[in-house]
């Protein structure tokens, strides 16, 4: 048995890691939410790189960053909330939503790395630390425990029949 399958308290270790990874991603979404409220202040704090008042190239990057912020709030954050609820309730939809969330967390920093490494290498590294590494750990934690969620589905169906 893999150490990530070892049950510690309520969940296997891998599932705990996935929960911790989700909470780490929520920290990143908090930064994104702050950026939406006050973009210039977020740039001052280093949460964003570009202003809408700069030259044409800076404005183009700012528009994309704004799009990322909106996508995080409208799509990635709700999926993350569904994932957290589903995982805590040991449901299969939580496993699936968790994988959706974590693959987004791996996908976009790769887009970002290929786009911006020449201009903002430190931001790329920050994105990898904040999103990619927790997401990869979350994927591993969930994937090795996929049968745990499937088994719970079977048990709950048996329980339903008994009731």
């Amino acid at each position: 048995m893999n150490i990530l399958n070892k049950v510690i308290g309520r969940f296997p270790l891998g599932v705990w890691i996935a929960i911790a990874a989700l909470l780490a991603l929520f920290l990143g979404y908090g930064m994104q939410a702050y950026s939406l409220i006050n973009w210039d202040s977020a740039v001052d704090l280093g949460l964003q790189n570009e202003r809408f008042t700069g030259d044409a190239a800076e404005r183009a990057w700012a528009k994309e960053s704004w799009g990322v912020t909106i996508a995080d709030m409208l799509w990635a954050l709700p999926i993350g909330i569904v994932a957290l609820i589903g995982i805590l309730r040991k449901k299969l939809y939580g496993f699936a939503a968790g994988l959706m969330e974590f693959t987004i967390g791996v996908y976009f920093p790769i887009v970002f790395a290929f786009q911006r490494w020449p201009s903002y290498p430190e931001t790329v590294i920050l994105a990898i630390i904040l999103w990619t590494i927790p997401s990869l750990l979350g994927i591993i934690g969930l994937w090795v425990n996929r049968e745990y969620f499937e088994d719970n589905r079977i048990i709950s169906k048996k329980d339903q029949r008994r009731n």
Binding site: A56, A57, A60, W61, K63, E64, W66, G67, V68, I70, A71, L74, W75, A76, I79, K91, L92, Y93, F95, A96, A97, L99, M100, E101, T103, I104, V106, Y107, F108, I110, V111, F112, A113, F114, Q115, R116, P118, W143, R146, F149, E150, R153, K157
Partner: protein
């Protein structure tokens, strides 16, 4: 086992024809021959050039991420769904989630340049719309199937 239904097959075939194959073709061109005229004709428009270095790097980043992450997930997930496996649905839905995510970003970063060139019909279908419709459909369908609803 989650046996494929008519709707499963429709979503898989739609994903293959309108998402996987066109994006595979375009993004392979983007990463292998990023500065070729053929790549520019397809990604920006016939005879057009990159607006600037920023525009090029945006497309280049998406090209690599699609080839490394999105398309393999879509392919492996589709196979898993055809085999009726839970993991297949999870990977398939993950590819749907990426499809919606990146196209929300494109709405803000590219719509003002792309929409006037292609018009509403093309934009809200094969240029942009299909990626949102298919992605949302796959995510919702997966959640329903995993919750025990067979449609």
């Amino acid at each position: 086992m989650l046996e494929p239904t008519l709707i499963t097959w429709m979503l898989i075939i739609f994903g293959l024809v309108f998402i996987f194959l066109p994006i595979l073709y375009v993004q392979l061109l983007m990463v292998l021959r990023p500065q070729s005229q053929k790549t520019r004709d397809i990604i920006i428009g016939k005879g057009e050039d990159w607006a600037d270095k920023t525009h090029f790097r945006m497309s280049y980043g998406a090209g690599w991420a699609d080839i490394i992450i999105w398309l393999p997930l879509l392919a492996v997930g589709s196979i898993g769904v055809i085999l009726g496996q839970v993991w297949g649905y999870a990977l398939w839905a993950a590819s749907g989630a990426i499809s919606v995510y990146i196209n929300i970003i494109l709405w803000f970063s590219e719509r003002e340049y792309v929409y006037p060139k292609c018009g509403p019909l093309a934009y809200y279908t094969y240029i942009w719309g299909f990626f949102i419709y298919w992605g949302v459909a796959v995510v919702v369908y997966t959640v329903l199937r995993l919750a025990g609803v067979t449609i």
